[in-house]
Symmetry: C2
Subunit: 358 residues, 2 copies
């Protein structure tokens, strides 16, 4: 029995080490879901065609040097449906999404661009509302929107509006983040409750026969990131904002990049009880549900407690927790220790249970 | 008669000086056409909501300083239909579009991002083809694509694919471009034939009962821009790539910003004869048709000949010409001297004769 399990693990591992190839004949919703299928598309098509050092790092932001300035540069498209939902809207998401990608690369977000694709016939008040929400989110985060573009497509060629933002940030010299720097013994931190955003969207779509008060967590994570950098310094290995694909997918990417094993203690992961209930009804594991204002970080053992304390002292980080740790084995895999004392493999997201979540 | 004309001109002028207000109830194709309606949307909604110094300059790119580096930052969405056309495709356009916005701000393009919105069910070979075209265009221009994002929307919620790029460039210290620096006596240069791109798209859509060999001019303009900077130095007042809205709209923006009059000599404007013929059949003035590889520049009188010679010596600039000049009056307006010796007002583009041109 143990031999069989080992054989299965070894086979999974060999498969994973093969270079991703994009062989699909058609684009499916899963290619945009942020899980395994997206990964194959990005690695097998985009990275192989555009191949360059900055892109090969495969983080959420590229780290660049321009005229001596150490920059981070990122972009994020937003196609969330509906356009507004409890706790936020597409405009807010478009500002926070890119700010957060820049922030988790270890950079203070400085400037944003915004490009709109708008459907002909859209009520202009809807556009006014989203622009106001963007302006407000940008102003609260202290990151001005300095350039933009507007395209309009015919009725039925878009769904109200899509917003693509890009952002530039200035990298903090105290950290040099890379998932490859993760080592056995490191601790895994999560800055707060998971699955709030994805669950809020599900409920807003009325796809569940359930009325519950769940709000998206859409927010800038820069203050949380800053707290982690300041408290852990060079012990901060890597950060990521667990959006599409959730915490499970981020941890799988980390484990594969660093060729280490990870164990998550399910009971240590903060989840709001309403969110947990909604996920149970839908049969979705909250570990795979998108977040829009959280950070997952891997920190060296000597700085983990200080980093946790710093997160807890930062607004939005009150429910931060150490949710797991890093071991040598099984290489490239993430295990979950359940409440019942058992252990199971937690793979990347496969398929797309929640399309157009962001 | 002369009094009446003056009265009309004065009234138009007063109207133009009023701050643009976005009062429309619905979004129309014209809001994305790059002419007067887009101008009102951008100035009346986006600029007033996002208001900051960099955005207020209202160029195609924002000029920023990050950690001592003098940067340009721009974004451009692409929704062109069809996805491929004689002379180019959406992927190539997406690379050149942003490179050119950065270049005409006086900056050497350094890095690009690319965000895709893809329609579920798209033939993966179409995506492969566009990605290869992007990679090729980026490599020819020496500007790597370093970061990206992919979203997929359901069938019918997009038209194949939309691509939004953003770009960072390093500003050339030899120039400090601003449309406000234009002075009476300055010369207006155009780097080559106009209206090729828009006409190629029209023909590719089969909207004309006309078979003609017209190719899009999609190309990076960085080499042309570099030739202008090197030859004219601080006499180079401002540049723009005349995409949506064409040369007419760009010159109107310049004239309004600088509060000067401009006269264009219609016979001096280079237009391919096939393009001229197609525009005549469709009843569209080539001055309003989009270009994707041209530069319009305003240069002080002492450097105009040198700038023209430099353009002509640069690949892609062989047909460059001085197409007009700047006077004190009529303030904020552009006049065209026709082949018959008459003069008429050339306003900004109104409406959208050619939707989804880029």
């Amino acid at each position: 029995m143990a031999d069989l399990e080992e054989e299965v693990l070894a086979r999974i591992e060999r498969q994973r080490k093969l270079k991703a190839r994009f062989r699909d004949e058609h684009i499916t919703m899963a290619h945009g879901a942020g899980g395994k299928t997206t990964h194959t598309l990005v690695e097998g098509l985009f990275a192989s065609a555009f191949g360059n050092e900055a892109l090969d790092e495969m983080g959420d932001a590229a780290r660049l040097e321009v005229d001596g300035a150490m920059l981070s540069f990122s972009t994020d498209g937003h196609v969330v449906k509906p356009l507004t939902f409890p706790g936020g809207c597409i405009g807010e998401l478009a500002v926070h999404g890119t700010i957060n990608d820049v922030a988790v690369s270890g950079a203070k977000p400085s400037f944003l661009s915004a490009a709109f694709v708008i459907e002909e016939g859209l009520d202009a008040d809807i556009l006014r509302e989203q622009v106001a929400a963007m302006a407000d989110a940008a102003s609260r985060a202290g990151v001005p929107i300095v350039t933009g573009d507007t395209k309009v497509v015919e009725r039925g060629k878009c769904d109200g509006m899509y917003i693509v933002t890009a952002g530039i940030g200035l990298r903090d010299p105290r950290v040099n983040l890379s998932s490859k720097s993760i080592k056995p013994g490191d601790q895994i931190l999560c800055s707060g409750t998971i699955a709030d955003h994805g669950t809020a969207i599900m409920l807003a779509r009325g796809e569940l026969e359930l009325e519950a008060d769940v709000e998206s967590d859409t927010a800038s994570v820069w203050e949380l990131v800053h707290a982690l950098i300041t408290s852990a310094g060079s012990d901060l290995r890597v950060m990521r904002d667990p959006t599409r694909g959730g915490v499970a997918t981020v941890l799988n990417e980390f484990a594969q990049d660093a060729n280490v094993g990870m164990t998550v203690d399910e009971e240590a992961v903060p989840v709001n009880s309403v969110v947990r209930g909604a996920c149970e009804i839908l049969g979705i594991d909250p570990m795979y549900v998108a977040n829009e204002g959280k950070v997952v970080a891997v920190v060296g053992p000597d700085s983990a407690d200080a980093a946790l304390a710093a997160l807890k002292a930062t607004p939005g980080g009150e429910r931060a927790a150490i949710i797991g740790n890093v071991q040598e084995e099984p290489e490239g895999m993430v295990l979950v220790r359940t409440g019942f004392g058992g252990t199971r493999i937690m793979d990347m997201l496969i398929g797309d249970p929640l399309p157009r979540i962001c």
